[in-house]
């Protein structure tokens, strides 16, 4: 199982789509590693720099509702993964993106709006980090000398995919 946790990148908008996560013009790459420089290239948010230090350091994304809507491209989770980001925490996800994350053994964690707001309170603390404990279904955010913990729900099937390391290994063993 992958490890989930580390410095946080806050993306404060609903409906961030997969074209913004990895534009179609880069879908001609045929290895995941080749996608690396293009992470979130078309995402326009105040104060956000896709090539900035915060993006480079990030291991977890915290964002709002309907993250990953639009195209089915699995290049979206892949470009996060090759940049070291293996978990996204959001109020909600688009179906295909959420499934793609778990299929790759990556975590797409949903929290209620109130909890997401509480996480966003740490956005201006430069040392904000999140640690995620999948078996216990808890996560802790730390920053500026404070910390808070949250519990989350995860479907048993999705949890099994994380444990198996993804859907191909799981399905090949079982079907």
């Amino acid at each position: 199982m992958k490890t989930f946790g580390g410095p946080v990148l806050f993306l404060d908008r609903d409906d961030i789509n997969t074209d913004e996560i990895i534009p179609a013009r880069y879908l001609t790459e045929i290895t995941k590693e080749d996608l690396k420089p293009y992470i979130l290239e078309d995402l326009k948010l105040p104060g956000f720099d896709p090539k900035g230090d915060k993006t480079k350091a990030a291991r977890v994304i915290v964002t709002r509702a309907n993250f990953g809507c639009g195209s089915s491209r699995e290049h979206a989770p892949w470009v996060l993964e090759v940049n070291g980001i293996t978990a996204v925490i959001a109020e909600s996800f688009a179906r295909i993106f959420r499934q793609n994350m778990f299929n790759c053994g990556m975590a797409a964690i949903e929290l209620p709006k109130q909890a997401i707001d509480a996480l966003f309170a740490y956005r201006d603390r430069p040392d904000a980090t999140i640690t995620i404990d999948v078996p216990r279904q808890t996560l802790v955010i730390r920053g500026g000398g404070r910390e808070e913990s949250f519990t989350f729900d995860i479907a048993p099937f999705d949890k099994a995919l994380l444990t198996a390391g993804g859907w191909v290994d799981y399905a090949d063993r079982k079907y």
């Binding site: 879908l27 045929i30 290895t31 688009a94 499934q99 048993p156």
Partner: protein, 428 residues
């Protein structure tokens, strides 16, 4: 308690329920294109599992960038081509025979009521127009589909959209679905199937129904679905006449997939289309919709008619009826991409291609290219395109470009005037 079409298909195709809420379904059709399949193929090869579950149930096409524009896209095409040959995939469509997947595959008769269909492409929801469950998936789901012929889903609930009234002049299926998305919002149907019902849908051709179901994903929907009926049977008849004694027999068989009258829905919406106007998107999300009256005069650099939403013969006919004898504005670049070779040829025979070329349009081969900013019509920074496609995301048709979604009719009025314009004044 009755069942919806989606519930019937899930019950019929269920292979396993490894955990509560996770349903593994047997797949009838696995469709592949050259953008999302090559990495699945490479992974299967790397795992020593370069196999396919059933070559007759796999359909493959090169459509996103075709003919290839550079070495990278040529390599993607070659990977798919070599793989299709290696595994004896008969239904593989290469240059000269290829078209936009969600227009080409239905045209070939590959989709039947009650089927389960997946593809590594979000607009796979289109095929639900035949009373099928058709869902876009990522490359990993596609890979497992290719290898094992199964896919796992959370069973979706169903939203029912009743469309009543009469479509006004100049208002088409595209305007209807844009209105529906405007009402539901871009995540209004997440983990839901959208069932399109009512007399307006009953009266629609399969082509118009596919325009509706095509954009279900723009509201977050897993699949769009229309009820199989006489229109479905008549469309499929050339492909199924060997299987049934009569059209009545086919209809009787397919009707068992229709939702039961006492089926339970997550939500039901009743929309009367009689008061609808032609619609246009204004922002970077498909639910940001205004009337053409509100949007008229908006500057446009390019008009694009094509795609899996609106590149079929019916769309071209409507467009040509408005364009005939007219020229497009000198400031506009007009691009027509018929969605399949058959659409292209039929349009040639009907004189439609002549009308477009006389008016100043460029006619390209069938391809997805421009819709997602990959080829044949990419925008420059700061440019705007009026497009009959399905996504207006920031940079969708080219970095820094703007997309306004609209119907084929509205796209032609816009091409004529060089800015967003009302098609109703041009209708014959």
């Amino acid at each position: 308690m009755g069942k919806t079409t989606a519930e019937k298909i899930f019950a019929d195709h269920l292979v396993d329920e490894p955990f509560p809420g996770a349903k593994v379904l047997r797949l009838d059709v696995v469709m592949c294109h050259e953008i999302t399949t090559p990495i699945a193929i490479a992974d299967l090869v790397a795992r020593g599992k370069d196999r396919v579950f059933d070559p007759t149930r796999i359909k493959a096409v090169i459509d996103h960038v075709t003919p290839s524009k550079d070495s990278k896209t040529a390599t993607q095409a070659k990977i798919l081509r070599d793989w299709a040959r290696r595994h004896g995939i008969r239904d593989f469509f290469d240059v000269g025979r290829n078209g936009v997947c969600h227009a080409l595959f239905p045209e070939k008769g590959f989709i039947r009521p009650g089927y389960t269909v997946i593809m590594g492409d979000s607009h796979t929801c289109t095929h639900g127009a035949f009373g099928a469950f058709a869902a876009g998936v990522g490359t990993t789901d596609l890979e497992v589909g290719i290898l094992k012929g199964v896919c796992a889903f959370r069973e979706p609930k169903t939203i029912r959209i009743n469309l009543t009234g009469t479509l006004p002049r100049g208002v088409y299926a595209k305007d209807v679905i844009m209105y529906v998305i405007g009402q539901l919002g871009v995540n209004g149907a997440t983990d839901r199937v959208i069932e399109f019902r009512g007399p307006v849908v009953d009266a629609m051709t399969m082509e118009s129904r596919m325009t509706l179901t095509n954009m279900a994903i723009e509201a977050g929907g897993t699949s769009g679905i229309c009820m199989p009926d006489q229109v479905t049977v008549d469309y499929l008849w050339p492909f199924i006449q060997g299987e049934f004694a009569s059209r009545e027999a086919a209809l009787a068989e397919y009707s068992r997939w229709r939702s039961d009258d006492d089926a339970v829905y997550d939500k039901v919406y009743d929309f009367d289309v009689s008061g609808l106007e032609p619609l246009v998107t204004y922002g970077y999300k498909p639910d940001q919709v205004k009337t053409v009256t509100e949007m008229a005069g908006t500057h446009i650099d390019q008009v694009y008619l094509g795609s899996c939403t609106n590149g079929r013969l019916e769309d071209l006919r409507v467009a040509a009826s408005i364009l005939k004898g007219r020229k497009i504005a000198p400031t506009v670049r007009g691009i027509l991409s018929p969605a399949t070779p058959k659409v292209f040829q039929d349009a040639l025979r009907e004189g439609i291609i002549d009308i477009f070329m006389e008016a100043g349009f460029c006619v390209t081969n069938p391809t997805c290219g421009a819709c997602l900013g990959m080829s044949t019509g990419v925008l420059a920074e700061g440019e705007s395109c009026a497009a009959t496609t399905n996504r207006n995301f920031q940079g969708r048709m080219g970095k820094g470009g703007m997309v306004h979604l609209l119907s084929p009719a509205t796209s032609i009025a816009t091409a004529i005037e060089g800015c967003i314009a009302d098609p109703r004044k041009y209708l014959p």
